[in-house]
Symmetry: C2
DNA sequence: CGCTCCGTTGAAACGGTTCAACCCACGTGG
DNA sequence: CCACGTGGGTTGAACCGTTTCAACGGAGCG
């Protein structure tokens, strides 16, 4: 598959003309990573940004003792690492390949040249960054103002919302990673899942979660987590 | 003072020509708020964004029980509320006047028209959003991966860094609000300040903090907060 | 003067983490 | 093909940092 074909399928670039896409494909570099491999590290110089082509990319922070807080999981078509490209500063977090993945890399200067000639691309980029800020604000809200049951309930409701409010959702990553996304540890997650099951709020069968009492779950999400 | 004069002093607009500033001043609205007054609320439709002219603006989240988590304090020249302007979605947080303040308000559509004609303005805006993402990522890191002493140490070091690493820093807001910024409560903040004083790391005299043992403070910030 | 707001202090309660042990499914190599 | 190791998940018990509630002190202000 050629770079130009990848670019055609990226939402961020959908407003571009064929000519503009060509100039982009001229500057993009295709890179592949195996599961778990580092893409960049906190403190690295950010000389460009990335877009996921296939697989998923995990962006996270690390504590001094090695505990990890996931900031975001990016899937195909989503850009990441733009923060340092536009601010000119170092990467503020780590990025690993969550699955075997491939990405397009856009060197900073070349991309800035393209964007200068295309207002619609910069508007699209502004929209992307704005949505990301919203996601991070929601994360702060969860971490600071809700307890773990509330965060977990919120997470399940989000997963369900993505699939037309289906009562049955498939976890898209391991429970250990979900714990890391929710700012806790696997043990705590396991216990809370257990409590929710006992209360008849949901059933947990491996990677499959069946929501039995949606209003109950919504209340836990709203109230911040008092498992009454 | 006229709107055009305010605009001239805003860093975000410094690359603009006089003509472009005029067109901006044509769309901007000057608004004043008294201390504590609401500017917008979470869930409000975002029809535009703001830039602080004078005073400060507090942007924060609220828990169901009324506890507040400050996301950011904005001072003169800084834009806020752009997230919903560019994403087209509702405001994701609350904004209050922290002091008696005045702001410029830019309606969404008019501003988008201006930005479309000026690549440098959109690049400046991308840089602003990127820096903001970095701040929020750091906040997540603090909240999730560090304990309160570590967050406080980090905060003091930031304050000090802003003034050429001065050993003596003036708190720019009430201790209660600092607690809210650090994701804790005033009581905890008070106790930790006390412990740090006892350990000879700093002296706390009202709004003035004197750093006595900078390496010690740096270690607390790094290690996440074990007050050994 | 008395009110309110902010900060401080103490004691008790709580939610979450840590550490350790254990289980199971899975894949690998002998 | 079975033994073994590994990684993910679960469970129990002790521990710990932080919150909560209540009380109190001081500064500022009408």
């Amino acid at each position: 598959v050629r770079v130009i074909d990848h670019i055609a399928s990226i939402p961020l670039f959908e407003t571009l003309s064929g000519k503009q896409r060509e100039s982009l494909s001229g500057i993009a570099v295709h890179r592949s990573y195996t599961k778990g491999q580092a893409i960049f590290s906190e403190g690295d110089r950010g000389e460009g940004f990335y877009i996921v082509v296939s697989g998923r990319v995990k962006v996270f922070k690390l504590s001094s003792e090695g505990r990890e807080q996931i900031l975001h999981i990016f899937g195909p078509g989503e850009p990441f690492g733009e923060v340092s490209a536009f601010s000119g500063l170092d990467f503020p977090a780590y990025a690993d390949a969550y699955d075997d993945s491939s990405v397009l890399y856009f060197p900073r200067d070349a991309f800035l040249r393209v964007i200068k000639n295309d207002p619609s691309l910069s508007l699209a980029m502004l929209a992307v960054l704005s949505k990301r800020l919203r996601v991070l604000a929601a994360l702060v809200d969860n971490l600071s103002l809700k307890e773990v049951p509330g965060r977990l309930a919120t997470y399940f409701l989000q997963l369900s919302a993505r699939e037309n409010d289906a009562a049955e959702v498939e976890l898209d990553m391991s429970k250990g990673n979900i714990a890391s996304l929710l700012g806790t540890v696997p043990e705590t997650l396991s216990r809370i899942l257990n409590r929710m099951s006992k209360r008849g709020i949901l059933r947990s069968e491996g990677q499959r979660i069946i929501i039995l009492d949606r209003p109950g779950l919504e209340e836990i999400a709203r109230e911040g987590g008092k498992l009454s």
